[in-house]
C-alpha cells in the first residue's frame, strides 16, 4: 500500500463536492411522494427499457470497433497516425446535435451512404438502429482513448515474450495483450456505456423521438421537462441510479 501525500485530499475533496453537491441538490428536487408512480408510467418504462437495450448494444459495438482502433493507434506506426488519432476524438468535441446532423447526412435517405441503402430497401433513420448508431458514434472515442493510453502504458514486453514462444499475433492479442489491459478495457466499456446512456442531441437529431422505438430515457426526460418538470427530475434520478448500478456491477464482476 503506497502512501499518498496528505495534501491531495483537499483538491480530491473539492472535486468530489463538485460532483456530489449538484447530485444532492437534484435529489432534493425529486418529488419523492410521486417518485414510484412517475418512474413506472408506461412511457418511462418504455424509455428505460429502450435505453438499456440500445446502450448495451452501443457499448458492445464500441468494444468491437474500438478495441481494434486502439490497437492500431497504440501499436503501429504509419504516416498520418497523429491525424487519425485526432480525428477519432472529434465526436467528443462536436456538439451532439451537430453530430446528429452529420449522421443524418450520412445514413439518412439522401445521405452519402443512406442513398444506396435506400435502394436496397434499408431505412435507418427513425429506427432503433439509428439510436444505436448515434450512441456508438458519440461513445466510441471514450473506449478508444482510454484503451490506447493503457496499451501504451502496458508496453510490449509481454507481447514480445509471447511471440518468442511461438504465439501468432491473434493469440498474443487475445491471451496476453487484452488480459493485461483488462481493467482499462472494462473502464472504457463502462465509459462508453455511460455516454451512450446519457446521449441526447445526436439521437434526437438523427433518430427522432418515438415512444418505444427511438425515445430513450434522456429524450423522455427532455419531453417531460416541458410538461412536468418534477417528472423530469424523477427520471433523471432513475437514470443516475441505473448508471451507478451498472457501473458498480461491472466493477464487481471484473477480476482486477
Amino acid at each position: 500500500m503506497r502512501s499518498l501525500p496528505r495534501w491531495v485530499l483537499l483538491p480530491a475533496l473539492l472535486g468530489g463536492l463538485l460532483v456530489l453537491l449538484p447530485l444532492a441538490s437534484l435529489a432534493l428536487q425529486v418529488p419523492w411522494s410521486r417518485f414510484g408512480e412517475l418512474i413506472t408510467s408506461e412511457s418511462s418504462l418504455a424509455a428505460l427499457w429502450l435505453s438499456l437495450r440500445t446502450s448495451t448494444l452501443a457499448a458492445l459495438l464500441c468494444v468491437l470497433l474500438g478495441v481494434p482502433m486502439a490497437l492500431l493507434l497504440a501499436r503501429s506506426r504509419f504516416r498520418g497516425l497523429a491525424v487519425l488519432r485526432a480525428v477519432v476524438l472529434i465526436p467528443l468535441v462536436l456538439p451532439p446535435v451537430v453530430g446528429g446532423v452529420a449522421l443524418l447526412h450520412t445514413f439518412g435517405r439522401q445521405g452519402l451512404l443512406g442513398r444506396h441503402l435506400e435502394v436496397l430497401g434499408v431505412q435507418i433513420a427513425f429506427s432503433t438502429t439509428a439510436v444505436v448508431i448515434a450512441q456508438t458514434f458519440v461513445a466510441l472515442p471514450f473506449l478508444v482513448i482510454s484503451l490506447e493510453g493503457a496499451l501504451r502504458t502496458a508496453g510490449t514486453r509481454y507481447e514480445a515474450a509471447a511471440a518468442s514462444l511461438g504465439a501468432r499475433p491473434s493469440r498474443v492479442l487475445l491471451h496476453v495483450t487484452l488480459p493485461l489491459v483488462l481493467p482499462a478495457l472494462l473502464s472504457g466499456t463502462v465509459l462508453s456505456f455511460a455516454r451512450a446512456l446519457g446521449e441526447f442531441g445526436a439521437t434526437i437529431t438523427f433518430a427522432g423521438s418515438l415512444q418505444g422505438t427511438t425515445r430513450t430515457l434522456p429524450l423522455e426526460i427532455y419531453l417531460q421537462r416541458e410538461s412536468d418538470p418534477d417528472a423530469a427530475v424523477a427520471l433523471s434520478f432513475l437514470l443516475v441510479v441505473v448508471a451507478v448500478a451498472v457501473i458498480a456491477l461491472a466493477r464487481r464482476r471484473s477480476p482486477a
Binding site: F126, G208, S209, R215, R225
Partner: protein, 228 residues
C-alpha cells in the same frame, strides 16, 4: 460600450433571435448609454432560469403555458402581454417530392411525417389541428422542438412536417410551406413581461413598449410573425 453603460437583460425564446436582435439594436440607438443583452434559449429553459433567480429584466416566451409557470411563481412584474402570433404550416422538402397537397394527404401510407411531441407547444398545436380536421396522424417521430422537425424535413429525411410559418421563412429555400385552413384552430401566441426584482424596471418596460410599438411589430412581421 464603457463600464458606465446600463445593461438591459432580455431572456427570449430562441425562435425570436432575428427580430429581437434588430429590436435590440434599435433600442440601443434610442437609449444612448444603454446596452441590450439578449439570452436566447428554449422557453422552458428560460422559465427555469428565471425561477432560479436569473438576473433578467424582460422575458419573452414562445407560448403562454410556459409563461404561466413564471406568473404562478410570482416572478412576472406585470401581466404578460401577447406581442406576436404564429400559425402552423405544412413543411415539405424543397420541390415537394412526396406530392403533399393538404392536411389529409399527410395520413397517406408510406409517408414519413414528423410532428412535435404533444408536450411541447408546437405539438399541442398540431394535435389541435389534427382533431379539428378529424384526422389521425401516424408520425414516424414526435420531435422535441420545431427546429428538430425542420431539420428532418429540410434534409429530406421526412416527407412532411408541421411547423410555424416563421420557421418556413427562416429555413430559406430548403423547405416549401403549404398553408391549410385548419391552422386557424391553433394559433400560437408569444407573450412577454418584465421580471420581478429587475434592476432596470423602467428600461425593461421601455423594451416591452418598443416590441409592442408599430416599429417593433413591423420588425416581427418582416420575419413572418403575425400580429395579435
Amino acid at each position: 460600450p464603457t463600464s458606465e453603460d446600463t445593461t438591459v437583460t432580455v431572456f427570449a425564446a430562441a425562435s425570436l433571435q432575428e427580430p429581437f436582435d434588430e429590436i435590440g439594436d434599435r433600442f440601443e440607438t434610442e437609449h444612448p448609454g444603454t446596452r441590450v443583452e439578449i439570452s436566447y434559449a428554449g422557453s422552458s429553459t428560460l422559465a427555469e432560469q428565471i425561477r432560479q433567480g436569473a438576473p433578467a429584466d424582460v422575458l419573452a416566451t414562445a407560448d403562454e403555458a410556459t409563461m404561466a409557470t413564471v406568473v404562478e411563481a410570482g416572478l412576472a412584474d406585470a401581466d404578460p402581454v401577447p406581442f406576436a402570433t404564429n400559425t402552423l404550416m405544412i413543411a415539405v422538402p424543397a420541390g415537394n417530392p412526396a406530392g403533399v397537397t393538404d392536411l389529409a394527404s399527410l395520413t397517406e401510407d408510406g409517408l414519413n411525417l414528423v410532428l412535435c411531441a404533444p408536450a411541447v407547444p408546437c405539438g399541442a398545436a398540431a394535435a389541435a389541428v389534427e382533431s379539428a380536421a378529424g384526422l389521425t396522424f401516424a408520425p414516424v417521430s414526435e420531435e422535441q422542438s420545431v427546429t428538430d422537425v425542420l431539420t428532418k424535413v429540410s434534409s429530406g429525411e421526412a416527407d412532411a412536417g408541421l411547423v410555424y410559418a416563421t420557421d418556413i421563412r427562416r429555413a430559406g429555400g430548403a423547405v416549401d410551406g403549404i398553408g391549410f385552413p385548419e391552422a386557424e384552430k391553433a394559433v400560437n401566441t408569444y407573450p412577454l413581461t418584465t421580471v420581478k426584482g429587475s434592476q432596470h424596471a423602467e428600461l425593461g418596460q421601455d423594451f416591452v413598449d418598443l416590441v409592442l410599438s408599430e416599429a417593433g411589430q413591423s420588425v416581427l412581421a418582416d420575419h413572418g410573425f403575425a400580429g395579435t
